[in-house]
């Protein structure tokens, strides 16, 4: 079983996002960069499957040099090798273009199963997985919480609004991981030591025969709409507090 996991490096979710001077990107100076939390579920699942079925786990990440740290994290967790698509200016690129890059790098690997996180917690698009599946001409199963392998097929659970769908698809396939799939392991110290010696291949978009072509362009980034200052509900007792709150919600806000 040949498994590929695509990982993205994103700002830690604790990060306070500041808008850069150009008004259409973010300040990246003080950011702690981490592996996208949803991608960790993909790495974990790949490691579990590879252990059970045998085979190799390759992690692929695109972006500037700092992305190597996240690739090393995945290697320390137990992945066998890594591919870094090196592009200093990739952060904020059109996810469809990023999917094209990944597809070119993954195509020669002969993967049976490709994992991604269901979305990256920075641009929140969730586009790369399905665009990648299209470029590789493979079935996709997105936002899934369980994976069960059959003979040449894979069965997954996909929670949607009000129900959980059980999907079955043929292999190879692209699967995007949702919280609930597993509990990702931490890298162990021996794992971290071993990771330093594991193969990490670097390539550029030019090596993959691609030139940057974004169809999605950010023209402005703004702070969220200001909320009007809140009001403290008065009351001496819980009953009074509740009564005054209910009154405000019924008569003032008219939401209940």
């Amino acid at each position: 079983m040949n498994i590929v996991v695509c990982i993205k490096q994103v700002p830690d979710t604790e990060t306070v996002i500041k808008i850069a001077g150009d008004g259409k990107s973010i300040e990246t100076d003080d950011i702690k960069w981490v592996m996208n939390p949803y991608d960790e579920f993909g790495v974990e699942e790949a490691l579990v499957i590879a252990k059970e079925k045998g085979g190799e786990v390759t992690v692929v990440g695109a972006g500037p040099d700092r992305v190597v740290e996240s690739l090393r994290t995945a290697l320390a967790m137990g992945a066998d090798k890594a591919i870094h698509i090196q592009d200093e200016d990739l952060y904020g690129a059109d996810p469809v273009y990023v999917a094209k890059l990944l597809a070119k790098a993954i195509e020669p690997l002969g993967a049976d199963l490709i994992f991604l996180g269901q979305r990256a917690v920075d641009d929140d698009s969730g586009v790369v997985g399905s665009a990648l599946a299209e470029f590789l001409d493979l079935p996709q199963m997105s936002v899934i919480t369980s994976v069960e392998l059959g003979e040449g097929s894979v069965k997954v659970e996909r929670p949607v609004e009000g129900q959980t769908l059980v999907l079955e698809g043929s292999l190879p396939a692209v699967v995007t991981a949702q919280k609930g799939l597993n509990e990702p392991r931490y890298a162990s110290l021996p794992g971290i030591m071993k990771a330093k010696k594991k193969p990490l291949e670097t390539m550029t978009p030019a090596d993959l025969g691609l030139e940057r072509a974004d169809n999605l362009e950010i023209i402005a980034i703004n702070p969220p709409p200001e909320r009007a200052a809140g009001r403290i509900i008065e009351g001496e007792t819980p009953q009074e507090l509740a009564a005054n709150l209910a009154k405000a919600l019924k008569e003032e806000a008219k939401v209940i």
Binding site: A133, I219, A220, I221, R227, V255, I256
Partner: protein, 319 residues
């Protein structure tokens, strides 16, 4: 002008509300860029229901009727939509940023070699081009984006765009198209708890956090939610503690929600949580710590113990 298309969404033969939201939004866009609204309906036996989309501003419906379209599959839906869109060459294509639309949108954009703005919360037209506003970093910032490919595809966050009835019936035309090979499909449906309302579609959400202290104590949150017809949400701490299922988590690594009313009980308001619920229309914070960050986001702040206030609030709702 080839106008604005929407991809309708149906489940078990009924249109979902996001379809009407998308139609209403599309009508507004079409009024500015020119042309009419066309709805693409993919399903089985949907023919009789298509004309009603006229009520929301749809002029024409292209209906593909096929037994294998009854349930959504990425392959058949993306193949059908891509073929018809290539043929009709609309300027703009809108769909829902529902679970289905999120699965379909990226695939469609890749098939058509264009871009997609996902999970948009506002649409505008500038110089004849669609400018979509979408939250990033779970709502810590909002980006204005344009799609430079053709068509310009945008998916709309459910519950954000108003449904506007303009009356009339749509002209319905049957379309046939090659659905291609279906490589992944639904083999079973596990129905969630009877009557459970999904967070992303809820008008009201009552959420509990670390302050709820244990799983059993969610009873009082459930009770209030029941009285309000609300969905129950949870902070990451409550989910990680095992008190609530992952599907209930609101925040940057959970669901981003936009209900009319969000009641946060015993939630301190970590930055990731505030991002996930900060665009709710009205926010109530019930937290005994007056300095909890959640109070700074709330429209109505109750500084009090949730174990005292929430049961009282349940009683008040009945009055």
């Amino acid at each position: 002008m080839a106008g604005v298309w929407i991809i309708a969404e149906q489940r078990d033969g009924d249109f979902r509300k996001i379809t009407f939201e998308a139609a209403s939004a599309a009508k507004k866009v079409a009024d500015e860029v020119g042309g009419e609204v066309t709805a693409l309906v993919l399903g089985s036996g949907m023919g009789d229901k298509c004309a009603e989309l006229g009520k929301y501003g749809v002029a024409k419906v292209l209906c593909v009727d096929d037994a294998s379209l009854a349930d959504y599959t990425t392959d058949a839906y993306a193949n059908a939509a891509a073929a018809l869109i290539k043929d009709g060459a609309p300027d703009v294509v809108l769909l829902g940023a529902s679970m289905q639309g999120k699965d379909l949108g990226g695939r469609l954009a890749a098939k058509l070699d264009t871009g997609i703005a996902v999970d948009c919360t506002a649409l505008a037209v500038t110089d004849g081009k669609l400018v979509a506003t979408r939250p990033m970093y779970a709502g810590k910032v909002y980006a204005d984006v344009v799609v430079n490919g053709s068509p310009q595809i945008a998916s709309l966050r459910p519950n954000v765009f108003d449904v506007v009835e303009v009356g009339g019936e749509a002209a319905v035309e049957a379309a046939s198209v090659d659905l291609g090979e279906i490589k992944a499909a639904v083999v079973d449906k596990l129905v969630a708890e009877e009557g459970k309302i999904d967070l992303t579609e809820a008008n009201i959400i009552v959420s509990g956090g670390r302050g709820v202290k244990e799983a059993e104590n969610f009873d009082i949150i459930e009770e209030l939610a029941g009285k309000l017809g609300a969905a129950v949400g949870a902070s990451r701490s409550a989910v990680d503690a095992g008190w609530r299922p992952h599907t209930d988590q609101v925040g940057q690594t959970g669901k981003v929600v936009t209900p009319n009313l969000y009641v946060a009980c015993g939630i301190s308001g970590a930055i990731q949580h505030l991002a996930g619920m900060g665009s709710s229309k009205v926010i109530v914070a019930i937290n005994k710590d007056a300095d909890a960050p959640i109070h700074s986001k709330a429209d109505f702040c109750v500084v009090g113990d949730l174990f005292d206030v929430v049961p009282e609030l349940s009683k008040e709702v009945d009055k």
